[in-house]
Amino acid sequence: MQDLTEHIIELIRLASTNLPPDVEAALRKAVEQEEPGSAARGALETILKNVELSRSKSTPICQDTGTPIFYVHHPEGWSTRRLREQIVAAVIAATKRSYLRPNSVNTLTEKNTGTNIGDEHFPVVHFDEIEGDTLMMELMLKGGGCENVGAQYSLPNNELGAGRDLAGVRKAVLDAVYKAQGQGCAPGILGVAIGGDRGSGYTASKEVLYRKLDDVNPDPKLAEMENRLTKESNEMGIGPMGFGGKTTVVGAKIVGLHRLPASYFVTVSYMCWAYRRRKMTVKGDEVNYE
């Protein structure tokens, strides 16, 4: 089996230091909408200068390099045990090279392992076997500030007047955006899962964030809701960093999951503007990054 360790280090470097083009484009559009001279516009201008600097110097966009979340879609014949070993080796090396901050803390002893390796859940690695001959590895780095403002609602919710339908989903998500204020490093991107159980809801609310910002949900009802949630979140005027302003979120992505008859969860993963996700494909000796 191929050793992908060096390629995975490059995937980590790209994710940590080079913001994806779709995200940068959204931020460049946002800056034009804010009043000249406002704190909101100043924040976005600094953010964009930081994005350029991080790219040119190969230094982390944000010092919180987050939880590394890997999804590996592999053809038949790859050993997931060995792939995991390679991911672990790459994470350790990337930490040594300062692409990642040592972020893995033993909750009971309070000791930071110093390597970004912890238990079987740190880093997070998902595997699934796919058809064809191309391996695809996706990586997302999700920081703690935005992870902390994620939220899960069990509908109906009387306080919000939110019932078990899309109208109720809308209310829950808007409440989550309000509660987050600027704490999740607005402008943010909303990953929303409707249904599932508590665990699958959170997992899916992150998976949906692998979608491109400018893609369109194939379900017209969800596509409409994604646009509406973006527009209405921005009406709240929380703005970049919570300074007040026009841009509170730059996108929303929704996925529907099957659920038990008794349960109706709405799960929101808030992604900060430093929306770090990258993809690598491996076909024989050919390795590509996007």
């Binding site: 924040a43 930081n50 230094t59 982390p60 040592p102 930071n112």
Partner: protein, 207 residues
Amino acid sequence: MREVNIPISDEVVRSLKVGDSVALSGVMVTGRDTAHKWLADTFIKKTRPPQGDDLPTFDALKGFLSGGVIYHCGPVVSGLDTKDYKFVAAGPTTSIREEPYQGDVMRLLNVKGVIGKGGMGLKTLQACQEVPGMYLHAIGGAASWIAQTVTRVIGVYKLDFGVPEAMWVIEVKDFPVVVTMDSHGGSLHVEVEQKSKSVLDELLARG
């Protein structure tokens, strides 16, 4: 953009208002969750006796923090093996987690400026009026940009807390912040929270 040197006098603190942009220069100390809890448990609530290097560390911190600035930041630092430390990425972390401790820490050490992101609550706002001090908002995520303003790493205390949680003493030049909580009781965060709440209520009523 107003230029302010650390240590900061009461007069300068009182002259700064919510919305002012400031370029900070001088020596500051990073401190986040573990550092604040350690300070509170050992020197404020005194629920644990000082041990190990606690007392000399506290004395050293007093020197840097009296009239000084604490920065909520867990940096990426290079040169860990050689102790030739350099800040590679150093944006602010979310400040509200320090709300239970911050006001008391400001009073204990006469801290004039607290840098972080996301704003803080009423206990800290009260301390800003008394000490006097202020909350200075840095741009979250702008880590490479801010690291460029760190001209020197002077030293580090409590590195056993881990790199992000250790207290790094750094010298900065033109570190960019916005005053979002001032010594006169003003808070941009309270304003934005209230305005957004009234819009949320309208949106929820719309069905």
